[in-house]
């Protein structure tokens, strides 16, 4: 897998989400803008996981990235279900935003692998 393409994808997504964060804040949609900040961080998390996975293996990140990234994102799914069950609408928005980013990243990683 070409690491540079994956890095570019992450940087593009970060820039796009950041521009959305800024637009929402400028429009006076502060809460929605703050929720997106959680999504923004997921790209950095995945980059760190990918770098660590690459360092572990000589022939690319392989399955190590998917396994570790899944370990990190699985609790978010559980947290989303818990938030829904308790009617915690704010938490629902945050977990959904994080999982949306995770889904994008997984799809791209699968496509590039």
């Amino acid at each position: 897998m070409n690491a540079n393409i994956f890095y570019s994808f992450l940087e593009e997504r970060k820039a796009s989400v950041l521009s959305e964060i800024t637009r929402l804040a400028q429009e006076g949609r502060t809460d929605e803008s703050n929720v997106l900040k959680a999504k923004f961080n997921v790209y950095d998390i995945s980059k760190a996981v990918y770098n660590a996975a690459r360092a572990q293996s000589k022939d690319g990140a392989g399955n190590a990235f998917e396994t570790t990234f899944d370990k990190i994102t699985s609790p978010w799914k559980a947290s989303l279900e818990k938030a829904k069950a308790h009617g915690d609408d704010h938490k629902v928005l945050i977990e959904e935003a994080k999982l949306e980013a995770a889904q994008e990243i997984n799809a791209k990683y699968a496509e590039l692998s």
Binding site: G28, R29, T30, D31, E32, D89, H90, L93
Partner: protein, 182 residues
């Protein structure tokens, strides 16, 4: 509406999406999915904002068959901002206590055994001192300049300055050479 309720309402209203939701509800009562389609926001986002609006008292909800319908709470929006500001503040009594403590501190510092030791240079403090001296005047009674001078002289020899300052601070009025406490 209490001060805390007003703060919570104003904070809640400071968001474009919530204002858009309120505008939609002004037209008719709606449920989450209807608002979601109309405003192009996810149902989760709408629910989040509605929860805030309900908590702030801006919106009311009711069950209608399978849906939860949301409606503007007219009572909250019929209150004018001026009425909210006129509400007695929970802080008011504390502020009054602090003002009174400051006043006492100034009086203790500038008066000794009922005599004014010196005229404060700070206007805020001088005003407190002048108001204290004004207690010696009866309200609604006219005084000649000589009477005014004699009363002020009981506090301090510089009765001319004090008399003039009491006029300029609108504690006393002068009309046809007669003085009266306001």
């Amino acid at each position: 509406m209490t001060e805390l309720q007003a703060i919570s309402l104003f904070k809640c209203l400071a968001d474009k999406s919530r204002i858009q939701i309120l505008k939609s509800l002004m037209e008719e009562d709606m449920y989450v999915e209807r608002l979601s389609e109309r405003l192009n926001l996810t149902p989760a986002t709408i629910s989040f904002h509605l929860k805030k609006l309900v908590d702030a008292g801006a919106v009311k909800s009711r069950r209608d068959q399978y849906y939860t319908m949301y409606a503007i709470n007219g009572d909250v929006f019929n209150v004018s901002i001026l009425d909210i500001l006129k509400e007695k503040s929970e802080e008011k009594s504390l502020q009054d206590e602090r003002d009174e403590a400051y006043r006492k501190k100034v009086i203790d510092a500038f008066f000794e055994y009922g005599k004014l030791k010196s005229i404060p240079s700070q206007r805020k403090k001088e005003l407190i001192v002048l108001e204290e001296i004004a207690k010696a005047f009866e309200k609604g009674r006219d005084y000649t300049e000589r009477e005014v001078n004699l009363i002020i002289a009981d506090f301090n020899d510089d009765f001319c300055t004090i008399r003039r300052d009491m006029i300029s601070e609108k504690i006393l009025t002068r009309n046809n050479m007669l003085y009266r406490k306001l």
